[in-house]
């Protein structure tokens, strides 16, 4: 028999007084957060020095559920906020958790520049192909032909391939998983957390309420089943070859893992030089 419990072993990482969270049944966000907390459990990061920064949107709410110093900033500005936070206090481990619209539409410029500078932070983007919180509008990752409330005839815009953008902008670690690849995602999150420099993980996740419904995946479960059948792991592949298209397999895996001096290191070297 199953055992009825009151508390979860990961509750210590959660602001339990705010659980249940606001995400819809079948939304992939909870799964991604869950994997992240499992990853935390398996690293030796001092929670006192962990800071989570989010922007606006459904994923933007992640910051509010993790029981560490957490910042729910303005739309698109999580990365520059996190940049200031990290530079002002270098002992912090800074993780930006936000959505595809927040990070790549309104915040796209900040993303590419933080990656270019190689600011030491981990960015986790939950990509659900649309603006969920505002009711399912077209976003920068909405696949071609997909229906959203602002592309009622089907999307005519070419979407961003986020991993390609990240790699081209200079990220030192780039990986993509779906919300179904929970173990690999967790391992990837651990790698990213331990990686020095700008690390990026894209997680493809279900949004049954506002995206799935209009695109023949009305439940989270169906979306997850789709991931099971249509994702293929290709580690080390050139991310430019990993575009996401309707009807095509989703290429997942770790695409980039390189070493490069970080901005933080460089700026502290510069300070030493200037103080001589």
């Amino acid at each position: 028999m199953e055992i009825v419990a009151k508390n979860h072993p990961l509750d210590k990482y959660l602001r339990t007084d705010r659980i249940p969270h606001i995400w819809c049944p079948g939304c992939g966000l909870g799964t991604v957060l869950n994997c992240f907390l499992h990853a935390l459990e398996e690293t030796d990061i001092d929670l006192k020095n962990l800071a989570i920064v989010s922007g606006i949107g459904c994923t933007g709410r992640v910051a509010g559920y993790i029981n560490v110093d957490s910042y729910h900033t303005t739309h698109g500005r999580a990365i520059p906020f996190a940049t200031g936070l990290k530079l002002a206090n270098p002992k912090l481990k800074v993780v930006v958790f936000s959505g595809d619209g927040d990070l790549f539409a309104i915040g796209g410029n900040h993303f590419i520049h933080a990656a270019r500078r190689n600011i030491d932070m981990t960015v986790i983007c939950v990509n659900n192909y649309n603006y969920g919180m505002t009711g399912g509008q077209l976003g920068p990752t909405t696949p071609l032909d997909a229906r959203t409330t602002t592309s009622p005839y089907g999307n005519i815009e070419h979407p961003f391939n986020l991993c390609h953008v990240a790699a081209a902008s200079g990220a030192v670690y780039v990986a993509r998983w779906t919300a179904l690849h929970v173990r690999r995602l967790k391992e990837s999150m651990k790698e990213a957390l331990n990686k020095k420099g700008f690390s990026f993980i894209e997680v493809i996740a279900s949004c049954p309420t506002t995206y799935g419904r209009r695109n023949k995946m009305p439940t989270g479960l169906e979306t997850m089943k789709y991931y099971k059948e249509h994702s293929v792991i290709k580690h080390g592949i050139d991310p430019s070859k990993a575009d996401i298209e309707i009807g095509k397999d989703i290429v997942v895996g770790k695409f980039v893992d390189i070493e490069k001096p970080t901005f933080d290191e460089a700026v502290h070297e510069l300070i030493k030089k200037a103080r001589k």
């Binding site: 500005r77 520059p80 200031g84």
Partner: protein
């Protein structure tokens, strides 16, 4: 004590460093760029961090982040950049993040006259972001005041936990003058109030005297900070009008009800004045010259120079019963004028506006004084 020959921009940057600023994020824009340039040179020498961001949106966000990282942080910009910063100035007000924003005003709107003076961002400084909030804005008239008021801006930001705007103008930013740098120990420095209770008892937005203590990242308080309407715990309560009422009222009252403490006015020849010129920034220097000249001619004219523009000193103006006319001199089409009118009534206020590109000459102001004297 050191005596320097500084421009307003350099003096402002030096003031920031003297105040303890150790983080600067900015984006180049005329006529404020020398502040960024000087910070890039000077901050590393004192162990601080300079970063040139990709735009002003990012600059403003970065200084908020740095402030929560424990640093005293500043950005500097001009007109168009100030517009872009409004979004996160609002976040700063809502999350009560101490920081300093320098806006070297140029003539607008839009790109306007990038290299020439304007004073038309007065209302934007006050109302630029959406929603109800109160802000502090200081206006220096000389490089010395650029130094002094930047220090004061940091102190007020720390004390009241609010973004403080140093509302310079192009004239003062590029003008060089003697600046006296007092010895370190003579400079008053205010630091943000820290929590005194253990983390499990700490409510990050509970304020006994309007201003809650601030726990920064990495200090063990697991604080949640959000731009959403939040309760004393810092948790979002985005559907509770009661929480909104309490929070926003406090955000405004902490500034409004302390206006007296922030008030900073230079009165010149006001003892027996019948006409008071109201001015600020570089324009006030022309006004002072005009008052001197008018006094020589025997006219009872005085000058009220606002060094603290926001919060506006309502009570002070209300108390000036003896003044028959207020002549507001500003490089815009009447912004401070609205505030003066609000306090003393429309029929006691005259405006001498200028659309920008140059400040008023003393002659122009004197001429207007003569006009007002004839009408009164």
């Amino acid at each position: 004590m050191q005596v320097k020959f500084y421009s307003g921009n350099i003096a402002c940057a030096e003031g920031a460093i003297a105040a303890g600023c150790r983080f600067f994020a900015g984006y180049p824009i005329t006529p404020s760029s020398e502040i960024a340039e000087h910070m890039a040179l000077r901050l590393p020498q004192v162990g601080g961090i300079f970063i040139q961001m990709e735009d002003e949106l990012a600059s403003m966000a970065a200084i908020l982040g740095a402030s929560w990282g424990g640093a005293k942080a500043m950005t500097a910009t001009s007109g168009p950049g100030f517009s872009l910063m409004q979004e996160n100035i609002g976040l700063g007000a809502m999350t009560e993040t101490p920081c300093v924003v320098v806006n070297v005003q140029r003539a607008g709107p839009s790109t306007g006259m990038p290299t020439l003076v304007g004073q038309a961002d007065v209302m934007q400084a006050r109302w630029g972001s959406h929603g109800d909030y109160e802000i502090i804005a200081l206006s220096p008239s000389s490089p010395q005041e650029c130094f002094d008021l930047t220090i004061r801006a940091f102190n007020l930001a720390e004390e009241y936990r609010v973004p403080v705007i140093v509302l310079m103008d192009e004239s003062v930013s590029h003008m060089f003058e003697k600046v006296i740098i007092p010895p370190k120990e003579k400079i008053r420095i205010v630091n943000r109030k820290k929590p005194r209770v253990p983390p499990d008892e700490f409510l990050p937005y509970k304020a006994d005297d309007f201003i809650p203590p601030m726990a920064c990242a990495g200090e063990g308080y697991s604080v949640h900070v959000t731009g959403l309407t939040h309760d004393e715990k810092g948790y979002p309560q985005a559907t509770s009008p009661e929480v909104q009422e309490r929070l926003v009222r406090r955000l405004c009252d902490k500034i409004r009800k302390n206006e007296r403490k922030m008030r900073d006015i230079e009165e010149y020849e006001m003892e027996d004045a019948e006409i008071a010129i109201v001015s600020f920034g570089t324009t006030a220097r022309s006004a002072k010259a005009a008052v001197k000249f008018a006094r020589k001619k025997g006219y009872k004219v005085g000058l009220i120079r606002l060094k603290t523009i926001w919060p506006f000193p309502d009570e002070y103006f209300e108390s000036l019963d003896g003044i028959k006319k207020f002549l507001v001199v500003e490089v815009n089409y009447g912004q401070i004028k609205l505030e003066v009118e609000r306090n003393v009534g429309k029929n006691r206020v005259e405006l001498l506006p200028k659309m920008g590109g140059e400040i008023h000459t003393p002659e122009e102001i004197y001429k207007k004084i003569r006009e007002v004297l004839q009408w009164k």
